[in-house]
């Protein structure tokens, strides 16, 4: 995983609440056995018209959105299915961070694991960003992970929360499995001292 320190880039606003992972990537794109090519299915039903042509009204399809690396969306982003294909698809498309007033638990956890930064901001700041974007669709933002701040287009800085462990892993580009593998002794001790309720092998 690439270390993350700051993410500076163009933002695109998708002003919808409760965007579920079936919208982010529909189930029929989940038949892959690797992580490649998922960008093609990102927001597929909204990005394309029924005849397959790109929907010119969809924010990601507007010319100003080309090259955007930060997605801004309404509250409870990523609800629904636990599919990690959702953050994979966002990352594959080129997004490095998602900013929203709140995230569904599993999406947030999945995104942190793969280095797609979920940034929670207050609803009022979100509303302001939506308004700013309406005036300037080229709007750029800067996210500083170490300082846990977002610099808004007007220069103001707002803070965002992240747990210390995820922050450390993202800043240093280490993945969480390594930490767990180092717990082997404690895990063995746990197994030796606790009852084993079921054995699937019979």
């Amino acid at each position: 995983m690439e270390p993350i320190s700051t993410i500076t880039g163009k933002a695109v606003v998708l002003p919808v609440e409760n965007i579920d992972t079936d919208q982010i990537i529909p189930a029929r794109f989940l038949k892959v056995t690797d992580k490649s090519g998922l960008a093609a299915g990102l927001f597929e039903a909204w990005r394309y018209l029924p005849d397959g042509a790109p929907n010119p009204d969809f924010p990601l399809n507007r010319p100003e959105a080309a090259g955007a690396t930060i997605l801004i969306s309404g509250r409870n982003f990523g609800c629904g299915s636990s599919r990690e294909h959702a953050p994979w698809a966002l990352q594959d498309y080129g997004f490095r961070a998602v900013i929203a007033p709140s995230f569904a638990d599993i999406f947030r956890s999945n995104a942190l694991k793969i280095g797609l930064l979920p940034v929670t901001i207050e609803q009022a700041i979100y509303d302001e960003l939506v308004a700013m974007y309406a005036n300037d669709p080229q709007m750029a933002l800067s996210i500083d992970l170490a300082a846990q701040t977002v610099t808004l287009p007007d220069g103001r800085q707002v803070n965002f929360p992240i747990d210390a462990f995820s922050k450390y892993c993202l800043l240093h580009g280490v993945d969480q499995l390594g930490f767990l593998l180092n717990q082997a002794e404690a895990i063995t001790a746990y197994e030796a001292s606790h009852p084993q309720p079921v054995k699937t092998t019979g």
Binding site: V16, E17, N18, D20, D22, Q23, P26, A27, R28, L30, K31, V32, T33, D34, K35, A45, P50, G74, R75, N76, C79, G80, S81, S82, R83, E84, H85, P87, S102, A104, D105, I106, S109, N110, K113, I114, D163, A164, F165, Y168, D175, Q176, L177, F179, L180, L181, Q183, A184, A186, I187, Y190, E191, H194, Q196, P197, V198, K199, T200, T201, G202
Partner: protein, 474 residues
């Protein structure tokens, strides 16, 4: 005396390999890891790349359910798979399980089925356990007083390699459901009403514990229906304290403890319920006695109404944001605000999914098909949750009731719940579905889903229009 604890806290504490600190999350031990074809292949790839083995194949079980067809067996007794990508995904799971020594209920196996149906059915799901799966409806298993939740594929890899997960302790929320359900009103209506009341994000960050008179009087299968949709309320997990209903359900199942071991297990399980005086971080309430059958009109499971209520009007919404969300949902659904849903024509009825595909669900649905016909022009799919459910239903003759009425009786799997296999709702068509998600396109591109109970779905199937099941009951 030690501090009173909730059910959740007891299970959490008992599985701590390492408690959380300000700097690091807790290391939580996992007793049972269920895997399926869709969310596991990339985790096995990761394992191979790092040269890791599966730490506890004996605490892992695979099944095939999501991308599998549910078309009837051919003359050779085989369920044919024709989609090449699904074939490769199923093949991959078979290979991964064989290589790492993980037991697998594959397509065609007498125990195959939806992952959340087979765990309880086999007696693998027991009180006090931690259970995970790369699937958000793992919350279903919480009905037994287990801590069960969905995880992503990276975490599937973590559990395969270490049998542990890194977790921050969630907050607890008591969900008190008092009163008793009236006739024609079911567990599905309880959970749809709860989500309609508190919204799809209402449970974010919490583990629900369902309690109260209404919950106590429910069967295990009904409790599973409720816990299943905890995730639709935003909660990762939902739990019910184990009681005699739980123990009776588990007794005698293939993986349940036997004889003296069972008695010892029951004695342990009896210590799990929340202690008198334990404190929850939050509380939600609902009265079961006042409930009517529920149905959804929109594009998330929180957009639900009593079946005889009109579709909400944007001008009745409290703020601009919910007005915009309602406008968007009604445009997708092609529904008019202020109009009743009762009597609205329906094209497809789907009875199945990990929410409502167990034997009691099928029995409930069958009562409206007996001696009646599916309404002309309506396609009805009845899909048992597992091969075991299918056989049990056939032993009672339920399959004949469905087939004689003109419904399709299919093989076990997720089927039309998620639009990933061949069972789909066509674009623009209306479905009444016993599944758990009515998101745009969930049941196929352009599909318009209305979630409801098996009773409501069956009543709708025989009339062809959205129907209050109470009107068909004598």
């Amino acid at each position: 005396m030690s501090k009173p604890r909730t059910l959740f806290e007891k299970v959490w504490d008992a599985h701590l390999v390492r408690p959380e600190t300000p700097e690091t999350p807790a290391v939580l031990y996992i007793d049972l890891h269920l895997i399926h074809e869709v969310t596991s292949p990339q985790a096995f790839t990761e394992l191979r790349q790092r040269g890791l083995r599966v730490r506890r194949p004996d605490k892992t079980l695979g099944t095939m359910d999501h991308s599998t067809p549910t078309t009837p067996r051919n003359h050779l007794g085989i369920i044919p798979v024709i989609d090449p990508m699904a074939i490769s995904q199923l093949e991959q799971l078979r290979k991964n399980c064989a290589e790492f020594g993980i037991p697998l209920f594959e397509l065609g196996d007498e125990n195959q089925g939806i992952v959340h149906v087979i765990g309880p059915e086999q007696g693998l799901t027991q009180p006090g356990m931690t259970i995970v799966c790369g699937d958000s409806h793992t919350s279903t298993h919480g009905a037994f007083g287990a801590l069960a939740f969905g995880i992503g594929t990276s975490e599937v890899g973590h559990v395969l390699a270490t049998q542990c997960l890194l977790q921050r302790k969630p907050k607890t929320c008591a969900v008190r459901i008092d009163g008793r359900l009236g006739p024609g009103v079911t567990a599905k209506d309880i959970i749809l009403a709860l989500i309609a009341k508190y919204g799809v994000g209402g449970g974010t960050g919490y583990v629900f514990e369902y309690m109260g008179e209404a919950i106590r009087s429910l069967s295990m299968e009904e409790r599973m229906t409720i816990c299943n949709m905890s995730i639709e309320g935003g909660a990762r997990a939902g739990m019910v304290a184990p009681d005699d209903t739980t123990f009776e359900y588990i007794a005698g199942r293939p993986f349940a403890p036997k004889g003296a071991d069972f008695e010892a297990a029951v004695a342990r399980w009896r210590t799990l319920p929340t202690d008198e005086g334990a404190v929850f971080d939050h509380e939600l309430t609902l009265s079961a006695s006042e409930l009517k059958p529920m149905i959804t009109y929109g594009t998330n499971p929180g957009m639900g109404i009593p079946i005889d209520a009109p579709v909400p009007r944007p001008e009745d919404m409290p703020d601009a944001r919910s007005r915009a969300a309602l406008d968007k949902a009604l445009a997708y659904m092609g529904l008019e605000p202020g109009k009743p849903l009762l009597g609205h024509p329906v094209d497809v009825v789907f009875i199945g999914s990990c929410t409502n595909s167990r034997l009691s669900d099928l029995r409930q649905a069958a009562q409206f098909f007996r001696g009646r016909k599916v309404a002309p022009g309506v396609r009805v799919m009845v899909v048992p949750g597992s091969q075991q459910v299918k056989r049990a239903a056939e032993a009672e003759g339920l399959d004949r009731i469905f087939k004689e009425a003109g419904a399709e009786w299919r093989e076990a799997g997720c089927s039309a719940c998620l639009g990933m296999n061949d069972d789909k709702v066509p674009p623009g068509k209306y479905a009444v579905s016993t599944s758990n998600r009515n998101f745009e396109g969930r049941q196929g591109p352009g599909a318009r889903t209305m979630l409801a109970s098996p009773l409501t779905a069956a009543a709708t199937a025989v009339t062809g229009v959205v129907t209050d099941p109470r009107t068909l009951m004598n």
